[in-house]
Subunit: 211 residues, 2 copies
DNA sequence: GTTTAATTTAAACGACTGTTTAATTTTTAT
DNA sequence: ATAAAAATTAAACAGTCGTTTAAATTAAAC
């Protein structure tokens, strides 16, 4: 069996990409190995052969999708920008990262809630903690400079940013009808403009409002 | 087979309650009829006998859990209160409603995304539209009185309120570790105080902030 | 008390699940 | 060309799933 720890060969990459799309469309549990195999035009035994199990396939997918992106936000907090500008850039970074990864984050956040604390959750916790550290640094910088209010519960900023996005994203059908976004492109465009703007506006208001 | 349309007998109610708890804990797909039957101390055939199918059991559950709550928010918007106070009361109403229903709303919002537009989604859409109408009325009242800013995307207010809550609620384990909320009671208490307060603060800032 | 209806049961159904086996083909190295 | 390793295959495995059946029990109606 090929190594899961570092790199993936072409066959593995194809399986990962097919699995990601199917997981995103139908969820982890609703997607069978047979469906993945059929879509990727491989034998059903190949998933076990290359990854060990369906569970480990998901773990590999999480690893594959997060390893390049883990330090993006950290780098941002180093840049020489005003705190509010940093936050403003952080939000589309967050959203696009999630939005471009076909829904793997949705699965991580909303499907693997009942399971035990195994590898894939450790990876997620790792990312979350690093992101929180970065955000905390930015906000505390803003507070020191007297720009941001000081009675903010910093760990609840991320739930507001991600939660707003996810709630919109997960209830796609409802919002497509409500906002008359008939095509996929119109929906994506609305996220990139109005939704991100709304979240930026929300966080900005929360941070710099003074009573 | 007993009628699903209106009322439920004692046996049905017990099944519904057991199913709700199990669905909330493990999700709809991960909960088997056999588990429900064992927990409710009934034969596995009784679910089909009383509800027709597992799918229809969920529909019945949604109906059962939403029929009493459908007009709560509408009533609020009629009361003689300042718009900001209405919003402030609306938020815990929202959160508690969801939080007291053992997670059925989580399933509705985050598990039934891939399925077709059948009955249970129609019920959900109905509730959502009524809630949106109520919120729109309140916000527009505040805008007319010159209290609220006018460049707000009203349909995105609900995603921020519910999304923040859900994201916190769904990532229970992570936040329990992060915020040192060891017991269930401590977690619930944090929601009722800090989380709700954070959401209220967020929405208030968003609504009344002026550049 | 007998008959009819409603409820409950154990067992089986067929379909699907993830995974493994053992044989076969293809690739690689010598 | 030959031997060893890797990749691929079809088939079967042991479970679980939701649902149905047909018989047994209980309740209700007359």
């Amino acid at each position: 069996m090929a190594s899961v720890a570092n790199d993936f060969n072409e066959k593995q990459l194809e399986i990962l990409q097919v699995a990601e799309t199917l997981f995103a469309e139908n969820g982890f549990e609703r997607t069978s190995i047979r469906t993945i195999a059929k879509e990727a035009k491989i034998n059903i035994a190949m998933v076990s052969y290359y990854f060990g199990s369906k569970e480990k396939l998901l773990e590999a997918l999480v690893f594959y999708r997060t390893k390049d992106l883990r330090f993006e936000i950290e780098n941002l907090s180093i840049e020489e920008l005003e705190p509010m500008e940093k936050i403003n850039r952080l939000i589309p970074l967050y959203i696009n990262r999630i939005n471009c990864n076909k829904g793997i984050y949705r699965i991580l956040h909303y499907e693997i809630t009942g399971s035990k604390n195994d590898l894939k959750l450790q990876i997620l916790d790792d990312i979350r903690l690093k992101n929180l550290t970065a955000i905390t640094a930015i906000i505390e910088e803003g507070q020191r400079k007297g720009i941001f209010r000081k009675d903010i519960i910093i760990p609840l900023i991320t739930p507001t940013i991600l939660g707003t996005f996810f709630h919109f994203y997960m209830n796609k059908h409802y919002f497509q009808n409500l906002l008359d976004l008939k095509t996929e492109i119109a929906f994506e465009e609305y996220i990139k403009t109005n939704l991100i703007q709304h979240i930026q506006q929300t966080i900005k208001s929360l941070l710099i409002y003074e009573n």
